[in-house]
Structures are given as structure tokens and as C-alpha cells.
Symmetry: C2
């Protein structure tokens, strides 16, 4: 059976060059980078080389990169770390309503600890309006966190405008962006964005799982999430996961070399899939912005059907896709992102997300476009909602 992996937003395959680079650190170069002997040297140098590569990808200094085990950890480290460090200055945070769960749930934890959080709404495309962010700022606001692109609907946010507007309104507020969906997929230049903190994850751009990073602008203080040893300059304890870090470095290097080409190849595939699905199937609606959109990201809602049923039938045809975000799809909750852009609860149940990547071709697109209509038809025939309409 044909296999089509259209779920790159959940996790990407690992590039063979990444795996190859990791192997020596799983085998002979097993030492601890902190060790004061020859076994530590190679791993230590490898970690710093990876740090330089990740820094280069987003245009920052290597000593502004802090490795984590995931994008979620980086998001928690940023949001909780800044909030807790600045708790004497103020206890108010501003985030968008469509942030990733790792940001939103971190703010819920902070609420339990006495913080207040304003969740700025978005428009029907999922766009955050910089004016709304500025309007949410209070005298006791210490952090604004708005994601660079949304993982569920693909919309790219005006982070640079938001950062500029916030800094104009008041200096001293920290800007964080969750760039897990963009780093390695789109050019990301921290200086252009104007943020103080930025999260990224290797498994979003052909790197390994278990490797993420947080950019922290030099001079920015935060409370560590994981206290302990002096790893990562005392900001994130625990023996460095050298193989994963090395893999992240190589993935960053490969991304930097191929960014423009990767996006240029994916955009027409994305647009062809959107075009075919929304015209060839009745009552299918694109979610997210049609143009300000991640290169390989196709998200739709199919009326009268549940996303999970479609996923199961697609899977039987060899097609891997998502519904809502991977992190919530097994929780069977309506996506907070779709609610925030005003999709009705019933329609939101019919969410499907196809995220394309390196190995996908036009044939994959056509295969999915040919398979989905019959799946939709079959499910609608079984749907009491559809027959009633």
C-alpha cells in the first residue's frame, strides 16, 4: 500500500545525515561533557559545535542558546522562568488565545501561584492584532508571549510588529515567541523579530526528538525550570543529551542550507492540496490564513464528520494525518485554536490537518485528494447530522 506521511507537524522523520552524526555519541564518544578528562572532550566540543549551528540558524550568539529536551520544555522554561524571576516587579502576563498547550497550561499553573493572565483573542484567520496586545498591557505586565506560527491552523503571526509595539508602549516587558513551528521551516531572524526569548524543537525540522532549545537574549534573567548542576551555564541542569544535541545541530545546519528551497517546493504542493480539497469536496473549509501560512500546512474542517473517523479511514489507505493538534487529539477535546477563530463546535469536530514535508511529492497530494472524497462520502452517509441537513 502507498504510504503518505502528511503529519510533519507532529514530528518529522530524522534526516539520515542527522542519525549518522548522532551515532558516534551513542557509541564510542559516550563521555559526559562536564568531565575533566579525555572522554569528556569530544562530547563537550560536539555540544558547543551544535550550539553554534543552532545559533547561526536564528542569527544569535551561541551563548544565547540553551538546550532543552523539547519545545514544550523551552516554552515552560521561558514563561515560568521569566514570570517567577520578575514576580516582585509584577504578576501579569499576556499571551494569545491560540498558543500551544505548553504555553497556555504554563500560564494556568502560574495563575494557581498568584499570577494573572490576559489571553488576547485572534481574528477569524487566527491572526493576533498588535493593538490588542498593547491594549492588554498593564503596569504589572512582565511577559508577552505570542507564537510565531500556529501548529494547528498554520497561520504566521506578526511577531515583529507585536514586539515593536510592546517595546514602544513600555520598555522592560519581555517578549517570548514559541517558534517551534517555524524554525527550520521558514527563515527566522531573532533580530528582525525583536524578541528576548524564542523556543524551537529539533523534531520539527528533521532533527531528533529529545532536543529543543531556548534562545535567551544576553542579560535576560530567569528562574531555571530544572535546577541542579552547572550544565547550560547553570540554567538547565541534567547531563546533556549529547547525541540528541548533536543531531539538533546537524538538523539546524541542513535547514539553513535548504530553507528557501524547502519552502519553495512545499508551497505549491500545499496550495494544490488546499485547492483540490476545498473545491472537490462539498462543505470543506480552510482554517487559518490562506496566504500568511506555513509552507507545508493544510488545515480544513469537514462538515458533518468527526476528524477521528476520517483519520482512521485515511490511515487504512496509508495516509497519516492529524486532527487538531497531536497533543490534544487523543484527549478528544474541541481544539482551543478552532474555538478561538470562531469555528462552531460541531464543525470543529471535523478538523483535519495535513502537514507536508521533504519527502512528499505531487503524487502524494493527488493521492490524498483522490482518497479523501470517498471517505467523506462514506462517513457522511453514516452521519445522522448529514442526513438531517
Amino acid at each position: 500500500m502507498r504510504k503518505v506521511y502528511f503529519d510533519h507537524a507532529s514530528t518529522t522523520p530524522i534526516h539520515p545525515k542527522v542519525v549518522e552524526a548522532m551515532l558516534p555519541y551513542l557509541k564510542e564518544h559516550f563521555g559526559n561533557p562536564l568531565s575533566l578528562h579525555s572522554f569528556g572532550e569530544g562530547p563537550r566540543e560536539a555540544v558547543e559545535e551544535a550550539r553554534a549551528k543552532v545559533a547561526a540558524l536564528i542569527g544569535v550568539r551561541p551563548d544565547e542558546i540553551y538546550f532543552t529536551a523539547s519545545g514544550s520544555e523551552a516554552n515552560n522554561m521561558a514563561v515560568k522562568g521569566i514570570a517567577l524571576m520578575n514576580r516582585q516587579k509584577g504578576r501579569h502576563l499576556v499571551v494569545s488565545a491560540i498558543e500551544h498547550q505548553s504555553v497556555l497550561n504554563a500560564t494556568q499553573t502560574l495563575e494557581k501561584l498568584g499570577f494573572e493572565v490576559t489571553r488576547v483573542p485572534v481574528d477569524k484567520y487566527g491572526l493576533v492584532n498588535p493593538d490588542d496586545v498593547v491594549a492588554a498591557i498593564r503596569d504589572d505586565t512582565t511577559l508577552v508571549s505570542v507564537m510565531h506560527a500556529n501548529n494547528e491552523i498554520g497561520t504566521i503571526e506578526p511577531v515583529a510588529e507585536i514586539a515593536r509595539a510592546v517595546k514602544e508602549k513600555r520598555k522592560g516587558i519581555y517578549l517570548h515567541t514559541d517558534a517551534v513551528a517555524t524554525v527550520g521551516t521558514l527563515p527566522v531572524d531573532v533580530k528582525e523579530l525583536g524578541v528576548d526569548l524564542l523556543s524551537l524543537a529539533g523534531n520539527q525540522f528533521y532533527g531528533p526528538k529529545g532536543a529543543g532549545a531556548l534562545f535567551i537574549k544576553k542579560g535576560t534573567r530567569l528562574m531555571p525550570l530544572i535546577d541542579g548542576g552547572i550544565q547550560e551555564r547553570g540554567r538547565r541542569a541534567g547531563t546533556e543529551d549529547v547525541p540528541a544535541i548533536v543531531g539538533l545541530g546537524v538538523a539546524a545546519e541542513l535547514a539553513q542550507e535548504n530553507l528557501a528551497e524547502r519552502a519553495a517546493r512545499l508551497i505549491p504542493l500545499r496550495d494544490r492540496l488546499i485547492e483540490r480539497l476545498t473545491t472537490e469536496i462539498d462543505r470543506v473549509y480552510l482554517t487559518g490564513h490562506p496566504a500568511l501560512r506555513l509552507p507545508g500546512h493544510v488545515s480544513i474542517c469537514v462538515e458533518f464528520i468527526e476528524g477521528e473517523s476520517m483519520l482512521l479511514l485515511l490511515n487504512m489507505q496509508g495516509i497519516a494525518a492529524s486532527s487538531g493538534s497531536t497533543c490534544t487529539s487523543r484527549a478528544l477535546k474541541a481544539s482551543h485554536v478552532l474555538m478561538a477563530i470562531g469555528v462552531e463546535t460541531a464543525l470543529a469536530q471535523g478538523s483535519l490537518v495535513f502537514t507536508l514535508g521533504e519527502s512528499n511529492t505531487g503524487e502524494d497530494v493527488d493521492y490524498v485528494a483522490e482518497v479523501l472524497p470517498s471517505i467523506v462520502e462514506r462517513l457522511r452517509q453514516m452521519s445522522p447530522l448529514y442526513s438531517k441537513s
Copy 2:
């Protein structure tokens, strides 16, 4: 040159069977365990299989095991998670003075957030007295955390007695033990220990870096350290590092098969090294308990010399060792553990830690025992302290 790796407490080599088991999850089985399609199935099953193996190693239920990226993360998750969840009940914690930095520094962070911490002293062997722990308990104590064995001096703590004494004194206090140094090295049975939470790390027993776990007794509530998706039943967000988790599982399985044999082989090697170093070199003192001691653990203080100089000269002879703990050795601070057992600051500078493992032989022991005396002599001749004595 002969290479002798005597730094297993820093990190162990990864067992070839562990690497072999990880490879498919770095290559073809790259999917996200949360995905509702075939690419997620294999990884999902592999993670649950690993969970069962880790659970079996310490005698608990698989659904009581929560994967983390390190022992330090597990320690932070336990200490901060219990303290913050129970903050309405009380804000007092009891730990030993010789806990790993990840526990001690986590308690310092909690102090900044309004908690109070009692650090129970130890005797000259590094032993915690259960009576001292009980005496430290207050009405507002919510957590007691005492490590199972100390990584710097090898002393094994009477955790079962401590747990029993604490629970007798007052029910409802949570018991955590950092068992990073013992799990996979000594038989660890959670029921015998009587603890509610226990931390372990794969890279201490021939598993990969990037994989640790926290045992949380069923029914125990804590505040997550990393908020976000529903991974690890909502208690630790972030895409599971499937290859590392699989590796941890295989390492746990191998440990369970070979535990008794591993310890039986290491103890005589350990004792031979202790015997030779303390008798053949003048003014060398064993630190930690002579008998209640980790199987492969040799820690000494060499008078009139700095540990770091010895490490460098040992390294030139192909011998890899540590001074104090790896996490602090680069920080050039006197070890808090040696201070706690009453070693004078000057003598503590001459700390050397040899930790033996699977691949080591009697020849390695003899090589080190033959090389160290001349290194000590050479350094002492350069030492103003020694010439003055």
C-alpha cells in the same frame, strides 16, 4: 596508551544492545506516539514496553512510571511538584545536607517562593540518621527527600528506615528518594523502601543520556514541571523521546538480569582499589562509609594536593576519574558533601572519585594503583603546603 574509564558515576558507556534497540526509532519508526495513525503505533507500543521494563526493575506498576529527560529533571519534578501542589497544606520540606544539587537547588528555588527547608546533617560517613529526619518534621512539612546513595562518597542511606520513621511520626508526608546512583546498580524495591516518589536515570546503568524516570505512587498528586500536552498522562509534556525511552527500557531489562552479578564482580575490585590506595600512598583518606557503599565506588581525599591537578595527570596516563561530583567539578567549589561529612576545606580540595563499571578489570585497578602514587608524589613536591608540613 592504556585507557581506563573509572568515571561511571558521571555517565556510563551505552550497552551495545541498548544502541541496537534504539536505532529503529531513530530511523524508520520515527512517528509520534500520540498520533492516531500507523506511524505512531510502533513508537507508542515501544514506549509502553519500556515503561513496563523500568517498572519491573523497581517493583512498581507501569502506570506509576513517568519518563523524564534526566535524573535531575525527575528530582525537580518530584520536589517542586509535591511542594507546589501541597502549598496550602504546608510549606516546609526536609532534605539531607548531602542531596544531589538538583534536589538542593530545587529547594533553594522553593525558598525564594516562600517555602522553608530543613537540611538534616549527616555523620562522618555521610549517613543520615532517621531520628534526625523525624526531629526535623513540623506540622507544615509536606515532603521528605533523602537520596538512596550519594554520588560523591558512595554511602548508601537507610531510606527504608527513614520512610518508616517518618510515616510513623505522621501520615501524609510524602517521601521522595533520589535513587539515581542505585537503580540499575543495586537491587531497588520501592515497596521495601516505602517511598512515594523515586528518581532514576538511564545513563547511570548503561542506558542512554536523555532518559530518566520518576516513580510516582498511584494516587499521589503533584504539579507538573513541564505543562502542555497529554503525554505521560498529562504530567510531563513534550513529544516523548522514543529512542531514549526505548534505550532506557532495554538498559533496565539488562540491569534486572545482571544486577547481582554486576555488584558481586565490582565489590572486590572496589575494595582492592581502596586497600591499595589508602595503604600504598601516605595521607590518603577514604570518604564515605567503608561497607554501606555503592559496589564500584571509591572516593578518597589526598592531602596537600588539588583534585583537579590529579585528574589532569591521571588523564595524561589514560585514566578517567572525577573530583567531587561531575556537576560541580567544573565550578571549582568545595564539595557540599565533603563539607557535610566534616572534611576540612583544604583536604576536600584533594578529592578523587573512581567509579568502576562493567568493562573494568583487576588490571585496571592495578594500573591506577600503580600510576597514582607517582602522580601524588610529583604534585606534592610542587605543593607549598606539603613542603611546609
